[in-house]
Amino acid sequence: MYKKNIGLKLTTIILGSLLAINVAAQNWNIPADQSAKNSSFPFNASTAKEGEAIFTKNCVSCHGNPGKGNSLKSLSPIPPDLAGAVTQHRTDGDIFYIISTGRVIMPSFKDVLTDQDRWKVISYIRSFNKDYVQVLSKFDSGKSKLVKITMEFDAKTNQIKVLVKANETTGVVSLKNDEVELFAKRYFGKLQIDKTNRTDANGLVVFSFPKDLPGDKNGNVDLIVSVNDDSYGEVQYQKVFKVGVPTNKPSLTEKRAIWNVLAKAPVWLILTYLFCVFLVLSVFGYIVYNLFKLNKSSDIKNLKS
């Protein structure tokens, strides 16, 4: 009786904690404004197809194929099957937020995939839900074309100054209190510089730039600024500045090496190969010559006898 009780209690505790974990897993604490976000383009077969390609490259290794239940079981928490009810009950904005920010094992894709790409993945995920009805963003994506960004480098203070304006028909307006991020383009992905800042009343935002960021051999760094405005959408602007430390790292395939193409094979290897082949060919030549001689020497003998 007593034992049974313990067993019951244990089960309750285990079940309860499992439930708690489950609830925690489902609860991403998504801010209401993010939750209400929507794609500005309609989802269709072609966006889903593009989304599938992105999904195959970035997500399938953990989540498996939607609906197949073949996600990577060795992770904790186990990545959910994205065709499942839990995910499909979320709003598009929720999923967008989850993909963008990530959590512990689920990586953040904000700096890996563009907004557009993230929406396309969602389009793919939604293609597994027959009951899904898309809510389009009310926001006019054409407006983002009006945004004009200028970027300058102040060598004295080592700062990057970004000015964000929009050319409305009524005249130029400054975009105030907008989230702005600055990135330097690297070999793989983008590196965020300084913190995410907000524009001031004049549409100005200032980032302090590190003194030791490696650039190319002339010190050039490809900078990307990304502005997020509620009514103009996300706008990116890219410009090259000579702000990095000149770095001249020869590419690994520049010099002759074992791993390089044939034209850049190590000299000793080419010579060894050619020498061996030459040696063998000359022996073959000698043998062929011998065979000719053999043929001839019989003739002479025949004539004599």
Binding site: L72, V261, L262, F284, N290, N295, S297, S298, K301
Partner: protein, 440 residues
């Protein structure tokens, strides 16, 4: 006068098998039909791609590559018998040299085809030559296999020149084309001292050249594996390990062929009990060397049991491949050595039976070398269908693997129907030699 008689019997004895008989036609029919079935399997692979075989992303070298390594290995015997034994002047080996050379030629030339069976797009074979990189062992492998085939062909042909002349003279009943070909190939052989000298010189040069080439061919083949850092392949002794293993397989193949020729071609007086005794001793010698390399190959990493080596070795010693591993080691290597140490066991029949075990063991040993390593990559295997994780050959794949074996036997059979299997000229010469010495 007596000698004339003796040499006539020898000649007719050694030429007797060059003819078409019923047994040959039936044998070739069976081989040919089986071969066609295998070729049909290959056409399926050509049409549907390599997916019809059991090889997948992780184990991408399966039966085909194991088979390739086996073929290259067996072909090495030509070098050991003609070059090494010939150059040291071991007399008993010379009647067997041609058998070894035929096996070498057949297996080396088929080895090239085996590689093609592992290609998903054989129509792009030419790209290997056009875009090959000298840094890749594969380019060296192709080069050296080609060279080895040519040298084997020459080493088969040169000693045959005088025999072709004999064939032309004596085989008057043979079809006219066959005789014409004998005549052309005999290059006006007239047994002049100068001709003899030219042949001797040429053979000697080739016999010297084939030694580094043969070592090259199998060392490079071993480097296809050893030049990667994977557990089970990452070994510094892979070169000699492969070469010594090759001699084991080759000796066994020659012994089996000897037995077959001795009984089917009635060559008891030429391939004698003594030859089987000596070949068995040679087999024991090379097997002991190979055993020694095996000891090093498994004992040294087995003592340390480094993380990834341990996964591999446990799989071999006690895991999924244990049965195959211990069978090849015990039935294919250790027991044959012990059995052949007894004089009574070095009679033709037991030697032949032991050799079959050795040869089959040698084949599976290649499988043990090639496949298990690939089942344990350094990065974990994730999110793949179950059949990616464990390699199971398909029926089509097995048929395509049997095809080259049949082809090699077909080549050997045909060759031994058109050329004397025991060098006639040399046998006669040896008969004269003691006399010459006596006259002086």
């Amino acid at each position: 006068m007596l000698d004339q008689l003796k040499s006539d019997t020898i000649t007719s004895d050694l030429l007797r098998h060059i003819r078409l008989n019923k047994a040959f036609i039936i044998w070739m029919g069976v081989l040919g039909i089986s071969f066609l079935v295998c070729i049909y399997a290959y056409t399926i692979q050509l049409r549907d791609g390599l997916g019809v075989a059991g090889i997948r992303d992780y184990v991408s070298w399966g039966l085909y590559i194991s088979n390739f390594v086996f073929f290259v290995a067996v072909s090495l015997i030509g070098m050991l018998m003609t070059a090494v034994l010939g150059l040291i002047g071991i007399k008993w080996a010379s009647p067997l040299a041609r058998i070894a050379e035929i096996i070498a030629l057949a297996f080396a030339s088929v080895a090239g085809l085996v590689i093609i069976s592992d290609m998903g797009r054989p129509d792009r074979l030419l790209y290997v030559f056009i875009h090959g990189r000298v840094q890749s062992p594969i380019v060296w492998d192709i080069t050296v296999v080609t060279i080895y085939i040519i040298i084997s062909l020459l080493l088969l042909y040169l000693p045959l020149i005088p025999d072709f002349k004999i064939c032309y003279d004596k085989l008057e009943k043979a079809p006219k084309i066959q005789r014409t070909i004998y005549k052309i190939l005999s290059l006006n052989w007239n047994n002049t001292p100068e001709q003899q000298k030219i042949i001797k010189n040429s053979i000697r040069v080739l016999a010297i050249l084939i030694i580094p080439v043969a070592f090259g061919i199998h060392t490079v083949t071993s480097w296809l594996f050893a030049n990667t850092s994977r557990a089970g392949w990452d070994s510094t002794i892979f070169g000699p390990y492969f070469v010594s293993g090759a001699f084991v397989a080759g000796c066994a193949a020659v012994i089996i062929a000897m037995y077959f020729y001795r009984y089917n071609y009635k060559l008891k007086d030429y391939i004698t009990d003594m030859h089987f005794d000596k070949m068995a001793k040679l087999l024991v010698l090379v097997s002991l060397v190979y055993l020694y390399f095996n000891l090093n190959e498994f004992m040294v990493p087995g003592y340390k049991m480094k993380k990834f080596d341990a996964i591999h070795l446990n799989e071999l010693f006690t895991g999924a491949h244990a049965l195959l591993f211990w069978s090849t080691q015990l039935l294919g290597l250790v027991l044959p050595i012990i059995i052949l140490l007894f004089k009574q066991m070095r009679k033709p029949l037991p030697v032949m039976v032991v050799s079959i075990f050795v040869l089959v063991g040698a084949w599976f040993k290649r499988y043990i070398i090639v496949v298990p390593t690939q089942e344990h990559p350094y990065l974990p295997i994730q999110n793949v269908p179950l059949n990616f994780k464990f390699y199971t050959p398909t029926l089509i794949e097995i048929l395509i693997t049997i095809a080259p074996i049949l082809l090699a036997i077909i080549i050997i059979t045909i060759l031994s129907k058109v050329i004397p299997i025991i060098p006639i000229h040399e046998t006669l010469e040896e008969l004269e030699e003691p006399e010459k010495v006596g006259n002086k």
